[in-house]
């Protein structure tokens, strides 16, 4: 294109007759103004106007002289600068206003059209609702666990140790004083149970966390009321203070503000409440209701270098990387080692800590399952889109005449595409309504079953964020679902629309049917992938539940009793107390055997120690760490643990008699495989620990996980009160009156024995086992639900295709029936249609399911990702669903009345 700056002698010559040839160059408009004009105007329209002004300028020069023409030109440029942008704005506003009015009208029209076909609208909106509901549930979980930033200021600067290290108080003190890559650092000891006294009420057990002053400072958590701990409160001799959870404050004191300055009595010690932490605060664990400061004595640091119990949270200094923290920690470890010669930690002390963002570490156990579930709902959503697209396509056929008429009347094709998209949007909006209701109900139902590993599980729900996410998903789904039918609408001539409206077997119908079949096959393939995944997870879960923990959990209840805090009765006194308590408890369940233990397998607490085993290794630095439970003589009987060798405990095993232990088979297999375990000595690791003699071997008992190898365990005799006497016991009793009634009876008995005891964890034993596979269970259940929804939608798709096939051929079928065709033959033909749909979809699904199953591999327990049963069962299930979907159309086909059909012609 020529630029408007070209000289234009011919323009002049053409209109005013003056010849340009031989003259000197005509004068130019003022260059700066012309340049400015070009900036104001743009595009070809602008070039055109610049040219017109050039032309007029030259004529004016001739008529009025150059100076006047220049003045004129400047005025024109100013006018353009003001008027043209204003005009553009006016046009823009007009377009928006008209567009808005048009949109409102289109929505009304779309709603009216949908109201005329309520069946279609209902099915399509329900389909959307299923997809959006399922997606919202998973998004709700993902949002809490993965997407949402932690509720602390500049949370991205918070780091922790990813490889499960814990630290001593001396470590924390050194970190706080010397580390420069962290601006604040602190530690917390998780989930200690303490007995909370209530004025006039029963004592109860609360979960208390011990935190350093730096811990809350590093998190920078804002208390709901009051304040965080201040430095002096971590020093010995400071008054006992506590912070409490918002829920606790409301329950006990009426409101967070009312809690300030009040006292709570924990293990017989009074603490003054100085602050209330918000509901969203769930560190170090979600169960915490009370936080108390760790006592840190700077003068005493050297005495507690050893193993620590404190998890770490730090706030990165601006610009610092997690790797810098790890480096600094290792250097610090080295200097601490040299500075404390009395205590001899190994080479590389504090080296190798994996420092990672807190948010990442919190969600590490749930990240992959949630991503897998997100993948599953994404597939489900695609199936939803395909289904709705199919519905729209068949609806489009029904409306072909309508469309053709509108086009003939001058409706723009783009207008009709927009109308179609608006219709899908309206359907999706209805789907959002239904989907959110589904999601809300689903999350309410799920919340109590969510595994403890899921961060923020108590906060999971439908809120504005989740609402926004699901609205985004719905829009996306509507666009995808509407795209294909809209494209078909855009690409067809009105003639073909009229033709296909008039005679559905012509070519337009053929391409539509191809599209439909493709969509249905895709849906079925997705269904197979998800059914296989759900099948594998389900089988894995069944396998996990089938693992023998080494004891009988069924028909047994448990209860934790924290004995009265305060005055220590001594070992003898505690032994007497427990004997009395046991007698009381036995009486409460009608004389059935009742067992007491310091800890329970799968009870959530483990006593494990470096243990000397005679004949294994004498080196004190390489003693194996072995878990043990201290149990009373009734234990093995109540728990159904079989004795393999020697004896269990009896009344003779008490304080003063020879100390005895019973080991399990895993212990023998690992440490004493020669089979001569009986009579050997076991000792705790400290100097002067007494010998304990192995007197029996029982079957292997699992400790806290049904997966993997059974870890070695030994049992000590609780009545011997070694190595110290316990301040609490777990009770296991047969569920003689049913679970709830039995635990209630046991609780009453314990209280009548001593009304200062605190009761907690009143649970059926199988529920304790269940917590160990809660994640696996919830993932399997959700996957099964998503798979079922997909399968149902796939079947709906097959049904749609088959019934359309029948409807299209009503005349043929009628004629054939009139000519004496067997109904069975016609039925077979319809079923063949179903198989033709199911077969490619099923095969494609299987091909895709195999790589998909590999993703699940890490979650499968004793089931192969290529489990033949699942891989066979899924296509069988799919075929059954397809056949069921075809059944109704097939029956309809055989009941075609030839007379009616021919009359209709």
């Amino acid at each position: 294109m020529r630029s408007a700056g070209d000289r234009l002698p011919r323009d002049d010559a053409g209109t005013r007759g003056g010849g340009g040839a031989g003259r000197p160059d005509p004068p130019e408009p003022p260059a700066a103004w012309r340049w400015a004009l070009r900036r104001i105007l743009s595009g070809s329209e602008g070039e055109y106007l610049v040219g017109e002004l050039d032309l007029l300028f030259r004529r004016r020069v001739r008529r009025q002289g150059e100076a006047a023409a220049r003045r004129w030109y400047r005025r024109e440029v100013r006018a353009c600068a003001v008027r043209l942008p204003l005009e553009r704005t006016r046009r823009g506003l007009d377009t928006i206003r008209e567009g808005g009015m048009g949109l409102g009208r289109s929505i009304r029209q779309a709603t009216r059209r949908l109201a005329r076909t309520p069946g279609f609208a209902l099915v399509a909106a329900t389909t959307f609702a299923i997809g959006i509901g399922a997606t919202t549930v998973i998004l709700g979980l993902a949002d809490q666990a993965l997407l949402r930033p932690l509720p602390y200021p500049e949370a991205e600067r918070l780091v922790t140790v990813a490889n499960g290290w814990s630290f001593s108080r001396a470590n924390l003190e050194a970190f706080e004083e010397r580390m420069t890559s962290l601006t604040a650092v602190g530690g917390a000891r998780d989930a200690m149970g303490m007995t909370l006294e209530s004025a006039g009420g029963e004592p109860s057990r609360v979960v208390v966390a011990e935190v350093t002053v730096g811990y809350l400072k590093a998190l920078a958590v804002e208390p709901l009321a009051g304040r965080r701990f201040i430095d002096d409160e971590g020093r010995p001799g400071a008054g006992a203070v506590a912070m409490v959870a918002a829920g606790f404050a409301r329950e006990r004191f009426g409101s967070p503000a009312a809690a300030l300055g009040r006292e709570v009595t924990l293990d017989a010690r009074n603490y003054t409440v100085v602050g209330v932490l918000p509901v969203s605060f769930d560190l170090p664990s979600e169960a915490n209701q009370i936080w108390v400061p760790v006592e840190m004595d700077p003068d005493d640091a050297g005495t507690h270098w050893g193993s620590g119990a404190y998890s770490l949270v730090g706030r990165l200094a601006p610009g610092a990387e997690p790797a810098a923290v790890a480096r600094e920690m290792a250097e610090l470890g080295e200097s601490l080692r040299r500075a404390n010669p009395l205590w001899t930690p190994g080479e590389g002390y504090l080296a190798g800590a994996e420092i990672a963002p807190l948010a990442e570490v919190r969600s590490r156990y749930v990240r992959t399952p949630i991503l897998i579930l997100l993948g599953a709902v994404a597939l489900l959503l695609l199936v939803v889109c395909a289904n709705v697209a199919n519905l729209l396509l068949s609806q489009g056929v029904a409306r072909s005449r309508d469309h053709a008429v509108r086009i003939a009347l001058g409706a723009g094709r783009s207008r009709m595409v927009v109308d179609q998209m608006i219709e899908v949007m309206v359907l999706a909006l209805l789907g959002v309504g239904g989907g959110l209701a589904l999601a809300w109900a689903g999350l309410e139902f799920l919340r109590p079953h969510l595994p403890a590993e899921l961060p923020g599980r108590s906060l999971v729900g439908v809120d504005l964020r989740v609402l926004g996410l699901s609205a985004g998903v719905a829009t996306l789904a509507a666009l995808v679902a509407g795209a294909l039918p809209a494209l078909r609408l855009a690409g067809r001539a009105p003639g073909s629309l009229i033709a296909s409206g008039g005679d559905r077997t012509r070519s337009g119908g053929r391409s539509r049917r191809r599209t439909t079949r493709l969509l249905v096959s895709g849906q079925l393939a997705a269904a197979v992938v998800l059914v296989v995944s759900a099948g594998l997870l389900g089988r894995s879960l069944v396998a996990l539940r089938g693992v023998d923990p080494g004891f009988e959990a069924e028909e047994r209840v448990t209860l934790r009793i924290d004995l009265a805090p305060g005055a220590d009765p001594g070992a003898e006194g505690r032994a007497l107390e427990l004997a009395g308590l046991a007698a009381e408890l036995r009486a409460a369940v009608g004389g059935a055997p009742v067992a007491l233990a310091s800890t329970l397998p799968f009870g959530g607490e483990v006593e494990a120690m470096a243990t000397f085993i005679e004949g294994v290794t004498p080196d004190p630095n390489s003693l194996p760490v072995v878990a043990h439970h201290r149990v009373d003589p009734a234990w093995f009987e109540v728990m159904g643990i079989d004795l393999l060798q020697g004896r269990g405990f009896d009344a003779g095993d008490r304080i003063g008699s020879e100390l005895v232990v019973v080991v399990d088979e895993a212990f023998v297999d690992r440490f004493l495989p020669e089979g001569d375990a009986l009579g050997r000595i076991v000792r705790y690791p400290w100097r002067g620990a007494p010998d304990m003699r192995i007197v029996g071997v029982v079957e292997a008992v699992r400790e806290g996980s049904l997966e993997g190898e059974t870890e070695p365990t030994f049992f000590a005799a609780l009545p011997q009160m070694q190595p110290w006497h316990p301040d609490h016991v777990f009770v296991v009793a047969p569920s003689v009156f049913g679970d709830a009634a039995t635990t209630a009876a046991l609780g009453r008995a314990a209280r009548s024995f001593d009304d200062r005891v605190a009761l907690s964890r009143e649970l059926p034993y199988p529920a304790l086992l269940g917590t160990s596979y809660a994640s696996a269970r919830i993932v399997a259940i959700l996957m099964a639900l998503v798979a079922a929804a997909t399968l149902i939608l796939g079947a709906v798709g097959v049904y749609g295709v088959a019934s359309f096939w029948v409807r299209e051929r009503v005349r043929d079928i009628g004629v054939r029936i009139a000519l004496g065709a067997e109904p069975a033959k016609i039925r077979r033909q319809v079923f063949r249609q179903g198989i033709m749909l199911a077969l490619p979809g099923g095969l494609l699904g299987l091909a895709l399911a195999i790589p998909a199953a590999r993703v699940l591999d890490g979650f499968l327990f004793s089931v192969s990702a290529l489990d033949p049963l699942t891989l066979v069962a899924a296509p069988v299930l799919l075929s059954a669903a397809a056949m069921a979907a075809v059944y109704l159309p097939a029956r309809r086909a055989t009941r075609v009345d030839p007379v009616e059909v021919l009359k209709g012609e």
Partner: protein, 109 residues
Amino acid sequence: MSRDTLGELEHQAMLALLRLGENAYTAPIVEELEDRTGRGTTVAAVYIVLRRLEEKGLVRSEMRDPGPGGGRDRRHFFVTDEGIERLRAARTAYANLWDGLEGVLEGGR
């Protein structure tokens, strides 16, 4: 409705288009208006009016090759049938309004 009444410049521009016939592109239209009305106007104002008339369907335009002489493509404007109809209605309305007022004008002179 404001859209139905012709503004003064709109009215004048359409008349100028009719006068210029095949030669009606922006520059001559501006000159025609200035020459005939004796009043100055700006290219911007005229251009905006022409595009508005086009939006209303009273004028149509097309980019035309400048012909054998060469030069730039130009946007030529034409009055549509609807535009003619509107001008006719306007003239009738004005004529009706003027009817019997000739004396007043003569007297005013």
